[in-house]
Symmetry: D2
Amino acid sequence: MRVLMIGDIVGSLGRTAIQTHLNRLKRAYKPDVTVANGENAAGGRGITREIVRSLLKQGVDCITLGNHAWDRREIFDFIDEEPRLVRPANYPEGTPGQGYTVIPVGKESLTVINLMGRTFMPPVECPFRTADALLANLSGKTHIVVDFHAETTSEKQAMGWYLDGRVSAVIGTHTHVQTADERILPGGTAYLSDVGMTGAYDGVLGMSRDLVLKKFLTQLPVRLEVEKTGGMQVNAVVIDLDRTNGKARKIRRVRIDDDQPLLDG
Amino acid sequence: MRVLMIGDIVGSLGRTAIQTHLNRLKRAYKPDVTVANGENAAGGRGITREIVRSLLKQGVDCITLGNHAWDRREIFDFIDEEPRLVRPANYPEGTPGQGYTVIPVGKESLTVINLMGRTFMPPVECPFRTADALLANLSGKTHIVVDFHAETTSEKQAMGWYLDGRVSAVIGTHTHVQTADERILPGGTAYLSDVGMTGAYDGVLGMSRDLVLKKFLTQLPVRLEVEKTGGMQVNAVVIDLDRTNGKARKIRRVRIDDDQPLLDG
Amino acid sequence: MRVLMIGDIVGSLGRTAIQTHLNRLKRAYKPDVTVANGENAAGGRGITREIVRSLLKQGVDCITLGNHAWDRREIFDFIDEEPRLVRPANYPEGTPGQGYTVIPVGKESLTVINLMGRTFMPPVECPFRTADALLANLSGKTHIVVDFHAETTSEKQAMGWYLDGRVSAVIGTHTHVQTADERILPGGTAYLSDVGMTGAYDGVLGMSRDLVLKKFLTQLPVRLEVEKTGGMQVNAVVIDLDRTNGKARKIRRVRIDDDQPLLDG
Amino acid sequence: MRVLMIGDIVGSLGRTAIQTHLNRLKRAYKPDVTVANGENAAGGRGITREIVRSLLKQGVDCITLGNHAWDRREIFDFIDEEPRLVRPANYPEGTPGQGYTVIPVGKESLTVINLMGRTFMPPVECPFRTADALLANLSGKTHIVVDFHAETTSEKQAMGWYLDGRVSAVIGTHTHVQTADERILPGGTAYLSDVGMTGAYDGVLGMSRDLVLKKFLTQLPVRLEVEKTGGMQVNAVVIDLDRTNGKARKIRRVRIDDDQPLLDG
Ligand SMILES: [Fe+2]
Ligand SMILES: [Fe+2]
Ligand SMILES: [Fe+2]
Ligand SMILES: [Fe+2]
Ligand SMILES: [Fe+2]
Ligand SMILES: [Fe+2]
Ligand SMILES: [Fe+2]
Ligand SMILES: [Fe+2]
């Protein structure tokens, strides 16, 4: 089973990047299932029902989220209705939405778990213990990928080792910069600290570089907006899972931008 | 001018990795000058005089530092004596050591600046304004690389854009994970959010994965130690600068580990 | 010279508390000059021109600010025009507004300095060095009070000791809870870690206790609003300064609320 | 039932302050039961078996802890053996020690719960939910005091309101500065944001003021030590609980230092 995971889609340029590149990516890599992180899809903060529908219609099979999931309040109106939408599982009990979902992939299925780190982030439930609890309930599942939405490389690598041999892949999101540390851990779990983002190529994490710079230089409150000019980028990862046991066989990073066009699509 | 920059050397395995791979790296890439971040060289925390000497002797031309610079107190005894050792320039006035150095490279020179971010880090002086002040004093210099030691991708990318066209390269350190976002910005500045680390391949950022996991799982104070078992990794970047004007012409990431051996050295 | 300092005025109940109690406080304590922190006066976030005018008209002689100074954007339109309005002096160079002001008090004057801490707050300039620089420029002044707007007790106490003997008083703001550690330090500087807030008595720091609790319980983004029901409180401090040399002679905390009515006004 | 709660005992001066003042305090206030926070009793960090024994022998009936509980490793050897020692209940499952204890007080008992905040502190379990769970198990108990060890006034006040009417008192610790906001909430719960510390009067939170200042001024790692010179202070609170239902009837702050000697003891 081949899984395509696309990093945090940021704002209008991010959605345009999906419109422009998703089909080409699929032709190039022929994934069986496509997962994308959508926490920043609506103007850099949150996601709307319309964007969810549009992404699913364009061929995304599952949308994961993160700390920005809640920035558009309308999500509380639809998060419980969309089985292909997943928010971090370690938000406290009673949080709307679901922390994992099972996506049919032909006769098989892929389980997608979303977890969130706690270092420099809101103090949600322990992601390691939440992972244990989820996996105990998913004992029949063999093909499981985890979107671990976290800030620090230490918490991410710790999660990779913690789940090695127990899930098919641990793929980080949230920093919006793809890391180059893809590997298959000894137990058969594919690992990448961060898959990177999808959106403006000339911003700062997809947001306006002028506004971000203004914030750093003045330390005043600055309302960030997405970068709307310049090129686009798509950051993704392709993971091949053993059909029988779900072990990762191969992990490849994908980066599309003005400097590195997708030629083979 | 070709510059080889090597990411944070962590502990004994990091130093062994330098002994094992530096000459091979040099044969493979033929750099004119080699810079390495040494803030974690002594047991994961700080650096000693002996390690400084050893690294310089082995062919490192300049050692940069970061927030861990001061963890071994003996640094206060020698930091003012070693012209090839640089600590973040934006520590407050009166801090021992120097924030940049000029390394002779044949008839030319490379200026190496070390700066530190402030997001989730100690509140040192503004790195952007410190960069402005340093560059005002370095107006004759054309070949300048900045080691920007920072936690967040936003502060790093903001610095890249801020210095684009004013320095040859802005290369991040501190997260210990190499990022895959190398590019040459429109003004001619090579950029990479993080060059990654040099040391244990099977730890967490070079430290013991058991101890880091213990820390995350218990939230108790855990004295971290370097990971001493398993393989090694070297993360580096090679930047080619235009001889005449110091503009970056090419930037390539280098990653050596058990999964990706250095074949061409 | 007797100085009355009133803690962070929060929202409409805070402004009502001033209307209700300021004159009575003045009758009770007969201050020569009144200073109030106004960073939360407009709906809990920032301050408007109208509120500034109203507070000054009601008998506040000087308004200090803090990290919330900038939350209402209109402040950028008037902060440079009002000499009795002060924002933290250690915002970076180029920040609108002023970091201290000199208030005429009969034939004498009181200098009011506003500084901001950096622990768990934005990384502005070093407040200790900024204090040094300001005091070097204020060498003729003997009556100086510092509103040190900071989160942690350690940074506040450190500032108290740092400025002991160099200013008349170091009075903390920002935590919205009055501390009971008033004292006169050996060098003659009055010190209080936090003067507390002015506004709702039954909220959380003046904000809606239901909304604050919702935030802690859900870890979701919650737009806080001021608490509008229940009683009011005023927290203040009265400091007596030696007429000749500005040394503090006495410091008394003042607390008015439903449980502790102001009887002597 | 009258409860005396003494704030964080810091280092040798803190222990000396107990030796000097505890008996006098008891004579003055005649408490039925005495609780003290001991997380900093050993050199400012952690506590030893010997200090535990000594404090209990001197008349402390229950010792609470906090984030510094674990700084002396020997605590892991004895924390499970001492029924009068309590660590924050919301450390994750499996943490040594207990989160509450029941102290016999004549024919009655006082239940002491220790909880820890999460804002600017380690991400332990949700203290609000942990409180709910503990109280569900303590349904027969009427006399319950909570030592809520937390950094921010917002989390502390939120806890006060959350537990109002469900426990006898919510008393904060950790900031080492006594607050002046004592009150009895509408449901009958005594509340104080922080009881303050016990130890050096001329340090910064009990630690060396020179070293703390050095840390703020240099931003370098500084190994803090307790302040050993100058006077002492004791900060405490006396709470009177209704014998029949455990409701708080009265709450008084106690502060003893060079400026405010205990006269009535
Ligand atoms: Fe994101
Ligand atoms: Fe995120
Ligand atoms: Fe490092
Ligand atoms: Fe570092
Ligand atoms: Fe405030
Ligand atoms: Fe504030
Ligand atoms: Fe403490
Ligand atoms: Fe503490």
